[in-house]
């Protein structure tokens, strides 16, 4: 039909070749699995997932630092993850979990020293911060606490893991007792009953229920500077026992009264801790309210009748080293001649020349009074036998006499003592 078809074949073959070239070019240009599940490279999803985790979860920290994790979980910072203060921690974790040795020990060390600024990231007083969040105006705070050095770090007083020493369920506490007062939020008292204020813990004036305590507090020196809430937390609506904010805890008292280089020297009265009460070894560790034992009357009436013995159990032995440095402190409670009732340079008045004959009577009456000066086994030093004689000595004394001789008996018993029976 067609004399010459070659030009048609040529055109079509060119189109086919171009098509093939185009197809192959697309195959080369398009990356692997592009368009598998949309207009993107499916492999990229894998690549995005493959990156390493840098910031560690607090649970990871817990697996080694269980103790500090539990401590941290009980106080106000319970919700602050470890990474916020200590850094991401990926190097630390890989160093301690893998023994590959790609990371040096120096790299694995977590930052620990807290800058002042670090705390203020969260706690600087800003209008934009929610009002129920504890915020510090640094100038005000330091003025209140008489801190003279403005560069003082928060960590000097607040342990970052237990920042406010709260004892009770911290998750329910809403208000930092030092920082907040009603007047910071309210210009005046609410007109309605406190109970009708929505979402607010019911607040009563302390003296409504505790009038005698408040009265006695108001005549004592502390009332000029702190109020009830500084030590005691509010009652909550459905609680009858009251929530107590480590009242009288030694750490709490020390926040203001411990001598530190950055604090004003004179006011409020400062003490050296722990030398104030002597060597810490003699204070039982569980004794958190040691301050109250002597200073309770400077705060408010605390029913003096229930006052306990302030000294630890083994005090008679331990007090020697303590009194050497702090003899004045003893005199606060003990009269000056109280030492001499036990310790005498000369012999006690009772120890008259004939005392060696007289002493059995008084020793039998009050053996412990001997032990103020004489050691517990001092009887045996002279008598060589147990004094007073134990039960059943009548039957066993034969052995003692045969072992130690008759002289031992002769110290107390007359010569004819044996003959009374034998």
């Amino acid at each position: 039909m067609f004399k010459d078809k070659s030009h048609i074949v040529r055109i079509f073959s060119i189109i086919v070749v171009l098509g093939v070239i185009g197809f192959i070019a697309r195959q080369i240009a398009l990356p692997e699995n592009f368009g598998l599940h949309g207009h993107y490279r499916w492999e990229a999803n894998n690549q995005n997932r493959a990156l390493p985790i840098i910031n560690q979860n607090s649970n990871t920290c817990k697996s080694c630092h269980e103790g500090i994790y539990q401590l941290h979980g009980k106080d106000a910072h319970y919700n602050v993850p470890c990474v916020d203060c200590h850094g991401a921690g990926n190097l630390h974790v890989t160093y301690h979990k893998d023994s590959l040795g790609t990371i040096t020990k120096e790299q694995a060390v977590m930052p620990r020293e807290f800058k002042l600024e670090g705390c203020l990231f969260c706690h600087r007083k800003l209008k934009a911060r929610p009002s129920d969040f504890p915020q510090i105006d640094q100038d005000e705070h330091y003025k209140f606490l008489n801190v003279t050095n403005k560069g003082t770090k928060c960590i000097e007083c607040h342990s970052p893991h237990e920042p406010v020493f709260l004892l009770t369920e911290v998750k329910q506490s809403r208000i930092h007792p030092i920082v907040y007062k009603c007047t910071e939020c309210h210009n005046k008292k609410p007109e309605k009953s406190f109970k009708e204020v929505a979402d607010h813990p019911a607040i009563f004036e302390c003296k409504d229920c505790h009038s005698s305590v408040v009265k006695s507090f108001e005549v004592r020196p502390h009332h000029k500077y702190i109020d009830c809430r500084t030590c005691h937390l509010y009652h909550k609506e459905n609680e009858t026992t009251g929530r107590i904010y480590k009242n009288g805890n030694v750490k709490f008292c020390l926040l203001c009264h411990e001598k530190k280089s950055f604090k004003d020297e004179k006011y409020p009265p400062k003490i050296d801790w722990p030398s104030h009460i002597g060597n810490l070894n003699i204070i039982e560790k569980s004794d958190e309210k040691i301050c109250l034992k002597c200073h309770a009357d400077q705060i408010h009436d605390m029913n003096q009748n229930t006052k306990e013995d302030p000294h630890p159990k083994n005090w008679t032995r331990e007090h020697k080293s303590f009194t050497k440095d702090n003899s004045q402190l003893c005199q606060k409670c003990h009269t000056t001649n109280q030492c001499s009732s036990c310790h005498l340079k000369t012999k006690p008045v009772s120890h008259v020349p004939s005392w060696s004959k007289l002493h059995p009577e008084s020793a039998a009456q009050n053996k412990s009074s001997c032990e103020f000066c004489h050691k517990q086994n001092s009887c045996a030093n002279c008598h060589k036998v147990e004094i007073p004689h134990p039960k059943g000595f009548e039957e066993t004394h034969k052995d003692v006499v045969s072992q130690k001789g008759k002289d031992v008996c002769a110290k107390c018993h007359k010569e004819d003592f044996c003959k009374q029976c034998h």
Binding site: S13, V17, V20, I21, I24, Q27, I28, P31, E32, N33, F34, L36, H37, G38, H39, Y40, R41, W42, E43, A44, N45, N46, Q47, N48, R49, A50, L51, P52, I53, I54, N55, N57, H77, N79, V80, P81, V83, D84, G87, A88, E117, L120, F121, C122, R124, L126, K127, A128, R129, P130, F133
Partner: protein, 263 residues
């Protein structure tokens, strides 16, 4: 003869050209076919995530602005986690302050990486002030993925807007398209980059770095497709707002306590 010879010559030359063309054509076809097999993808097995598994998730994000204290822990954590260049932020915290005359000031010094120093107005004059943390909204109908000329910006099956770092050419079109300013060009790598909701963490059971670092639980993250998830329960209880909802991007970052000043 001379003429004839010349004619013959030219004819033989013609034949040579045709032969040459034919040869060229065949060889080109051969090379192309060969290259097809050489460079073709074939049926090489690639280990990829199970697409169907990812469809079980739809990651969502809640920002509770009433709880944010503007400490910047999230910003610092994100910086470290994702190695974000110094002057850019994948998440940042804005501060809004409104004084008694109704004047508004918004600021975010260094993305609040070192928190905020002091109030902008006289603090007695401020009637309202609050923090708003911002991050990529991971929109359902995101503008940034639509404009990408090379298909490097995409939405993953589990609802996270991601970037294919190998594919991206760094044209910056997506940076302009995002109405929330959540993208930036990483000059060192020459590609666009953005918040990935810490895609490398969330499938390993970890929360995104910013959620992990938040000390006030102001950021909540979870699976929107799971009716029992924390995020779902909060969305069912609380009233929330969206940023620039009128643009129709359908953002997936829900803001609790959003004010009209926040854009």
């Amino acid at each position: 003869m001379e003429k004839e010879e010349k004619l013959n010559d030219s004819e033989s030359a013609k034949m040579e050209r045709r032969q040459f063309l034919r040869l060229g054509l065949y060889s080109a076809a051969g090379v192309l076919c060969g290259s097809f097999f050489a460079f073709g993808k074939g049926d090489k097995d690639i280990v990829v995530d199970n697409y169907e598994d990812l469809l079980k998730y739809d990651w969502g994000f809640i920002v509770d602005t009433t709880r944010c204290i503007g400490c910047g822990a999230c910003v610092r954590a994100c910086k470290v986690e994702n190695n974000v260049p110094e002057s850019y932020f994948r998440t940042w915290v804005e501060r809004y302050e409104i004084d008694s005359k109704g004047e508004i000031r918004v600021d975010s010094p260094k993305g609040a990486i070192e928190s905020f120093q002091s109030d902008n107005f006289d603090s007695n004059d401020i009637v309202k002030a609050f923090f708003v943390p911002k991050l990529c909204n991971h929109c359902y109908d995101s503008a940034c993925t639509q404009v990408c000329p090379v298909g490097a910006s995409y939405e993953s099956p589990d609802g996270v807007v991601l970037i294919d770092k190998e594919r991206c050419v760094g044209c910056g079109y997506c940076v302009q398209a995002c109405p929330y300013g959540c993208r930036y060009i990483d000059e060192e790598k020459g590609i666009a980059d953005k918040c990935t909701l810490c895609y490398h963490r969330i499938h390993k059971g970890e929360a995104p770095a910013c959620v992990n670092a938040c000390p006030r639980n102001a950021r909540i993250f979870g699976n929107l497709k799971d009716p029992n998830s924390k995020i779902r329960k909060i969305l069912n209880q609380r009233r929330y707002g969206l940023l620039k909802a009128e643009l129709g991007t359908n953002p997936k970052c829900y803001y609790i306590g959003l004010d009209k000043e926040v854009k």
